[in-house]
Amino acid sequence: MRAAILILLLVFALLSALTGDLGTALALAVAKALLVGVEYMELRRAHRAHLAGFAIFVVAVAIGLLITARPSPPRSRSGDGGGSIDSTTTTAAPPDAAQKSGLSSSTVRARES
């Protein structure tokens, strides 16, 4: 049994190197970790709660890593016209005009138009 697990682990190690997808590689890592945990760390002989705890922890770490490693969406830059704060301020009334009249910049802009 232990030798069969070794062969599986070697195959999984090779597959991990060949795959170009992080999700697949992490799934293989979970499979390898569970095989080592159950057979070599002898969790199959331990209390079921310990085995379940180990499995849940390994799977949770893998899912957490997959979520964390997901590329973040690109952020809008100033002046790109994408509805950012910068694009609003370029159309707002000059601050000195608003200060002189005592009105808000949006009111000044509306009167000017």
Binding site: G20, A29, A33, S72
Partner: protein, 174 residues
């Protein structure tokens, strides 16, 4: 020993998440760094570690069944395969440093040396434990043989588990 393993794995998990966060936040830096890594070398390292782990598991079983010469052979196998992993990592570090990839060059190399270095320290400690138990088993009466023998193997398997997650995070192209 289980408590040590759990605490160590939590420490490793923090390193994993730092690497995963870098993959997401600095993809260009990460991709550039990964170009210098060989997944094949990483796969060979994984194979050496799992072979070593299997030898350690067989050694524990042999000690329990009082087949001491067999246990010593498997401890030797575990040590040699583990040493192979350590030598591969040292050669890898030398290669990277000669190519100009050191700490401070980029965030990728900082996390690479932090993550694999932290793991390497554990491998060296594990090798020491395996050598000690392998040389002493059957010749010394341990205070608690089961804890000594199984605990050493447990620590060694924890090194396997940590590498299983480090490998895809660092070597699988983003």
């Amino acid at each position: 020993m289980w408590l040590v393993v759990v605490l160590e794995f939590f420490a490793f998990a923090m390193v994993f998440f730092v690497i995963a966060d870098l993959r997401a936040s600095r993809p260009a830096v990460f991709r550039e760094g990964q170009q210098a890594l060989s997944p094949l070398v990483g796969a060979v390292a994984t194979m050496l570690l799992v072979t070593s782990g299997w030898c350690a598991a067989e050694a524990v079983h042999a000690v329990r069944t009082e087949l001491l010469p067999r246990a010593r052979r498997f401890y030797l196998g575990a040590f040699v395969a583990g040493l192979g992993f350590a030598v591969l990592k040292v050669l890898d570090y030398v290669d990277k440093v000669r190519a100009g990839y050191t700490l401070g060059v980029s965030d990728f190399w900082d996390t690479y040396f932090l993550g694999t270095g932290f793991h390497f320290v554990h491998v060296v400690i594990g090798l020491g434990l395996i050598a000690y138990v392998g040389l002493r088993v059957g010749r010394t009466t341990f205070e608690d043989q089961e804890t000594t023998v199984a605990g050493t193997a447990l620590f060694w398997h924890m090194c396997d588990l940590a590498w299983f997650f480090l490998f895809p995070l660092l070597f699988v192209r983003s």
